[in-house]
Amino acid sequence: MKFLSKHSPFMRNANTTQEILNIVLFSLIFVLIWSFVNIYFVFGTIVLLHGISMVVVSCIFAILSHVFFHFFTMKKENYKDSKAKFTYIYKKTKEGVPIITALILTMCLPLGTPLYVVIVATIFAEIFVKLMFGGFGFNIFNPALSGFIFAVISFSSIVSPYIPDAITSSTPLGIMNGTNWGIGARDYPNLIHNVVALFGGYSNMIFGTMPGAIAENARFAIILAFIYMGYKKVIDIFIPIFYIGTIFIVTWILGIHLGFGIEYPTTHILTGAIFFAAVFMATDPVTNPINRQGRIIFSIFFATLTMILRLFSNHNEAVGYSLLLMNTCVPLIDRHTANVTMKDLNKKKLSIVISMAVSFVVVFVFLFFYQ
C-alpha cells in the first residue's frame, strides 16, 4: 500500500482569497452605483456617461496591462501549445486583481478627468506599481493610489480643475483649503456654516450629491460598505475607526482653539477623500502592517500626516500623499511590532505603541499652535 507524504495540517478551512476579493469588489460596485445615481440626478446624463466610460476604460486597460505584461514576460518554452499559454495568462491576470485596482483608481479621480489620463494612470498603476514589484501581494505602494497621485502630478492642470461646463469647479474641500481652514480667520465664525450651506448642508455631504471625485462623496454608501466588509472580516475595522477618530479629535481641539464648535471636525472628516481612503485604500491588506498594533500606529500616523498636509499646505490630495508616505513606513512599523509575545505584549509593547503615536499627535498639535 502506497501512502502520500504531506506536511501537516491536513485540514483547511473553507475561506478563499477569491471570496475576500469578491466581497471587496461587491462593496466597491455598490458604492460606485450609488455615486452614479447621484451623478445622474445632480449633473445629468452626459456627465454620467463620461463617468461610466472612465470606469469601463480603466477596467479594460487594467486587464490588458496584465495580459500584455504576462505575455511578454512568460517563459514561452515552458508552455507548449497556445492553450497552456492562455491558461497561464488567464490565471496570472486573475491573480493580479486588475479590476479592483482599476475601480478604486477611477473612483478617486475627479468626474471629468479626460479618458487618456485615466488610461495612462491605469497602466502606470498596474504595470509600474503592481507588476514590476512582482504582482499582487508584493507591491509596496497601493497601486490605485499611486496611479491617482501619478495622474494628479503629471496632469495637474487638467485633472483638478477640469470639470465639464455645467459643473461648478468648486468643492467643499477646495473652498476650505482656499480659506486655509479658518486658520487666522477668527473673525469668520460663520465660515464653516456658510460653506456647508453652499453645498446644501451636511446631508448632502453624507449622501453625496455634490461635486468631487466620482465616489468620494458617497459617504453613506461607504459607511454601509465598511459595515459589510467589517462584518465579513475582510478589512480591519480599526483602521478607519482610528484614522477618522484621530482626525476628528485633533481637529476638534484645533477648532476650539480657533473658536469653532463641533462643526469644524465634522466638516473636516466630511470633505475630501477621507472616508473613501479610510475604508478602501488604507485597509488594503497588501500595503498596511501585518498586525493589529502596527495597523493602529499606521492609522494614527496617517491621520496626523493628513492633517499636517491639509492644514499647512492646503493640498487637495493630502489624504493621498499621506497614505503613500505611510505605505513606505509599513516595513518599518512591521519590524518594530515584530515579536509580540503574549507576555510583554500587554505592558511593554502597548505602552510603546501608544506613546509613540500619541507623541506624534502632540507634536503636530504643538506645531499648529506654534504657527
Partner: protein
C-alpha cells in the same frame, strides 16, 4: 486573547462523532509485537534482553539512559525473536525489540498491587511513577516523574482532558470509562507535591463526560471540573493555563505553581498501581474517510498497525494519506507497518482532496491573528526563505509549536505551517 493580541485560537469542526459514540473494538492478540527503542526524541537505550530470551508482560526489556531514566516493558509474554530496525511512527528508522506472543499472558508484577492509594507514603509516589516508566500521553512523551520530582511550590495539578485535535476521541472514551481511576490518580498526584487544588479541564461540548466527572468528584471538594470553549489548540498547556487559571509562564508551568498532566497518563498510572503492572495496552482512535471502519481500538503496545487495519476491514478510496496523530499536527507515514507506541493516540487515514493551487499571499494577516503563540507566521515564512537569521530571531522563530493553525486559516491556501517549521528548524540548527 485581546484587542491587540488577536484571537490565538480557532474553531475547527471536530469530526468526533465518527468514533466517540461507538464501542471499543478490541484487538488484544497480536502474533508479534515490536517495541520501539525510541521515546520522545531519545534513542539511547540499554537493552536488557537478547534474542531467544523469554519475557513476560511487565518484564523490563530496555531502559532509556540519557539524562532521563525511563524503563520500557514487554506487552506480551513470549520469546524475543529479533532486535531490528523498523519504520517508526515518527518517520525515522528505529531499533525495535520484536517479541513473539505465546498467548499465555504471563505477568511479572513490579510490586504488590495497591488497593488503597492512601497507604502509599508520600515520598514513594514519584518513585512509583519512575518505576512504571510513565510518560506523558499528550503527544510529547515527556517522562512524568521529571515533572513531579520537584521542590518548587506547587498549588495546582491541572489535568488535561481537552483533546483538541479533530477526530481523536481516545482520551474521551478512556476518561468516560475510567473516571474513578482519574480522580484517584489526581488525588494521589496532588498529595505527592502537596498541591491543594486539582483541576480537570474538558471541552464544553462534552456534556455526558462532564456529567460523569462531576458525579465522581462529588466528595472531593478540592478537585474542580472546568469546561473550556471548543477551540483549537485548547489542549496546549499554555492556553489551558491561561483559560483555567489565568496564569502565564515563561518556559514551564511549574514556574507559576502548576503541573499539567494528560488525563490518560493519570488513568494509566492509577491502573498500574492497582495491578502492579506497567501500561501494556492502550486505546487508539482509528478514523478518517480512508478507513472502512472508524472506531476506537484497544490494543497491546507494539502491535503492528497493518494487522489492526486488516482486522477492521482495511482501506477505501484513492490517494490516501496515513496520518500518525491528529489532522493538525500529525505526520504522514510511508507505510502501515509501524508499531503502536505507548504514546500513540490515533491514526487517521484521509483521501487527498484535489487542492487548489496556492494563490499569492495577500497579507490578510489571518495567520497572525490566529497564531496561538502570537507569532507572525507569514513574516517568519518569508524570513526563513531568505535565511535572514536576525529577523528570525526578532520574530521568535523558536516559539512555533507547528500547531497548524496558520495553514488552516490561510485563505490563499499557502502551506504556511510548513514554511514556518522549516524556518524554525533552520534557525534552531544554527545553534547545534
Amino acid at each position: 486573547m485581546g484587542f491587540f493580541s488577536g484571537k490565538n485560537k480557532v474553531k475547527i469542526k471536530g469530526f468526533k462523532d465518527l468514533t466517540n459514540t461507538k464501542d471499543i473494538f478490541e484487538y488484544l492478540e497480536p502474533k508479534i509485537v515490536a517495541i520501539p527503542l525510541r521515546d520522545a526524541t531519545s534513542e539511547t537505550f540499554d537493552v536488557h534482553v537478547k534474542i531467544g530470551d523469554y519475557v513476560k508482560i511487565g518484564t523490563n526489556i530496555a531502559t532509556r539512559k540519557d539524562h532521563f531514566v525511563v524503563p520500557i516493558f514487554s506487552s506480551v509474554s513470549g520469546f524475543v525473536k529479533d532486535i531490528k530496525e523498523m519504520y517508526h511512527v515518527s518517520g525515522k528508522i528505529v531499533n525495535h525489540i520484536v517479541i513473539e506472543n505465546d498467548f499465555k499472558d504471563e505477568k511479572q508484577e513490579l510490586f504488590n498491587p495497591k488497593e488503597n492509594f492512601e497507604n502509599i507514603p508520600k515520598n514513594d509516589i514519584v518513585e512509583y511513577i519512575k518505576k512504571l516508566g510513565v510518560m506523558g500521553l499528550g503527544g510529547a512523551g515527556f517522562p512524568t516523574y521529571v515533572k513531579y520530582n520537584t521542590d518548587k511550590k506547587v498549588d495546582t495539578i491541572l489535568i488535561n482532558g481537552i483533546e483538541c485535535e479533530p477526530y481523536i476521541t481516545s482520551d474521551e472514551i478512556n476518561i468516560k470509562k475510567n473516571a474513578e481511576f482519574l480522580i484517584e490518580g489526581t488525588l494521589l498526584l496532588m498529595r505527592s507535591v502537596d498541591a491543594k487544588n486539582g483541576i480537570i479541564g474538558i471541552k464544553e461540548n462534552k456534556p455526558s463526560l462532564y456529567k460523569v466527572l462531576t458525579e465522581s468528584v462529588l466528595e472531593h471538594k478540592n478537585i474542580k471540573i472546568v469546561q473550556t470553549p471548543d477551540v483549537y489548540p485548547m489542549g496546549w498547556e499554555r492556553l489551558l493555563l491561561r483559560q483555567t487559571l489565568k496564569r502565564e509562564y515563561d518556559k514551564l508551568p511549574i514556574e507559576v505553581g502548576v503541573i499539567v498532566s494528560n488525563a490518560s497518563t493519570v488513568i494509566e498510572f492509577s491502573k498500574s498501581l492497582k495491578t502492579g503492572l506497567p501500561a501494556y495496552e492502550r486505546i487508539i482512535t482509528i478514523s478518517g474517510n480512508g478507513f472502512v471502519k472508524n472506531q476506537n481500538v484497544k490494543v497491546r503496545i507494539g502491535t503492528i498497525l497493518k494487522e489492526i487495519i486488516q482486522e477492521m476491514g482495511g482501506y477505501k478510496g484513492e490517494n490516501l494519506k496515513l496520518i500518525y496523530g491528529g489532522p493538525m499536527m500529525g505526520n504522514t507515514l510511508d507505510t502501515d507497518e509501524v508499531a503502536i507506541t505507548s504514546i500513540a493516540s490515533s491514526f487517521l487515514c484521509m483521501e487527498e482532496e484535489k487542492k487548489e493551487e496556492p494563490s499569492p499571499c495577500l497579507r490578510c494577516s489571518r495567520c497572525v491573528d490566529y497564531c496561538p503563540c502570537g507569532l507572525q507566521p507569514v513574516a517568519l515564512m518569508n524570513a526563513g526563505e531568505q535565511k535572514e537569521v536576525n529577523l528570525l530571531r526578532e520574530l521568535s522563530a523558536f516559539k512555533c509549536t507547528s500547531c497548524g493553525v496558520c495553514s488552516y486559516v490561510c485563505p490563499s491556501k499557502i502551506d504556511v505551517t510548513e514554511g514556518v517549521s522549516k524556518a524554525r528548524d533552520f534557525y534552531l540548527s544554527l545553534f547545534e
